[in-house]
């Protein structure tokens, strides 16, 4: 009977051999875009100078020392694709690009509030805490099993003033298990590059 049990255990384990062996094997990049969006007609963007916290805060807290490097990476990718960054206090951009981060697992319920994560940013002048970001691809939540850095591209030209909503046109999520600060930044940088690389329509 013991032999039979041992054989059954080995057989079941054999159903899914292999799998992740190192931390980076668990890194992933997910992108989603609005199929109705005409990205060719969008060329200017504005972006806050901070990485916001996901509305569901988790512990440990997100380390903001990497914010400048993360935002520079996002900007470099957009610039390389021909986008032009504008100052939202003087020019209305085609899109607002916001970057969120979370060091631990989290669930983001859609539509989600964004205003309080970027206090005083002129790109969100005229909005308040009642405004939400919604995803036209109709997901009611996004689940992140590990730490994540998320980039959302919002339609800045057509805010839904009746429902107080901003429409997301594209989103990219870099997800992985946190390690050292330096390792995190390196993997986030690679993930951001990959998010844009797999979004050729941008």
């Amino acid at each position: 009977m013991r032999r039979l049990a041992a054989a059954a255990t080995v057989l079941l384990a054999a159903c899914y051999p292999g799998g992740a062996e190192v931390l980076t094997d668990l890194d992933s990049v997910t992108t989603q875009h609005d199929l109705a969006a005409n990205f060719a007609a969008l060329r200017t963007y504005a972006m806050p100078d901070v990485v916001g916290e996901l509305p569901v805060s988790t512990t440990p807290a997100f380390d903001h020392s990497n914010d400048p490097a993360i935002l520079a990476k996002v900007a470099a990718n957009l610039d390389a694709l021909g986008w032009t960054r504008v100052d939202p206090s003087t020019t209305t951009p085609d899109v607002s690009v916001i970057v969120y981060g979370s060091l631990g697992p989290s669930v983001l319920w859609i539509p989600y509030p964004f205003f309080d994560a970027f206090p005083g940013w002129p790109g969100f002048a005229g909005y308040d805490s009642s405004w939400r970001v919604f995803y036209p691809w109709a997901r009611d939540r996004e689940v992140f099993d590990g730490g994540s850095v998320r980039i959302d591209m919002l339609d800045a030209r057509n805010p839904d003033t009746a429902k107080h909503r901003l429409r997301a046109l594209w989103t990219g999520a870099v997800v992985g298990l946190p390690s050292t600060n330096q390792s995190n930044l390196q993997r986030i940088d690679q993930g951001i590059d990959q998010a844009f690389a797999q979004s050729s329509y941008l």
Partner: protein, 203 residues
Amino acid sequence: MRAHAPPRLAVLLLLALPASALAQSNIRLSYEMAVPSLGTSDFIDRFSSRGAHLDASIEVAPAFNFELSLGWNLFNAAKTGVLHISDGRDVSGKQFRYLNAIPAMGGFAFHIPLRGGGRIWFGANAGGAIIERLVDVGMGTYSRTQWQWGVMPQIGIAFGIDRKAGTAIFFSGRWEYYWEQAGSPKQSWFGIGVGFLFGAGRK
């Protein structure tokens, strides 16, 4: 009513068979390896060393056997690249791909006896398989399970190792093909089996 005639006929034929005619019936248990071909090789192109088959072979006429086959095959491979999950949604990262198949089939085969309790057989089965395609990317899992209809031509050769007990060792080859079903793509692979046959040559 006429639609019930073939199954009734088959049952009557089986009942009418004398015990001696069933002497060449056998059970085969095998370890299976497989090489992916059309369809499957697009998903996983790696040799599979995990699998098993249980075959029951019932002689319904001299040298002509009714076959029942139940099996399990597992393919796995690691890939990198972009996975298209749905319209507009893409996921990239290291992909750990798995294909689990549990075929269940029936068919017929000709069995030609050899000296010393051995035999050669060839035939074809039809039926289907429950096929699960699963991809682990990052910390997410994407899978799809579907019953797919298929066919399985097969050949085999057995060498008697204990004629009195009716035991033989055998080697078999199968080609399993499953049609596309409800959005699940076609699958196929060549299976190579080695195992034991019980009941051969019993008198």
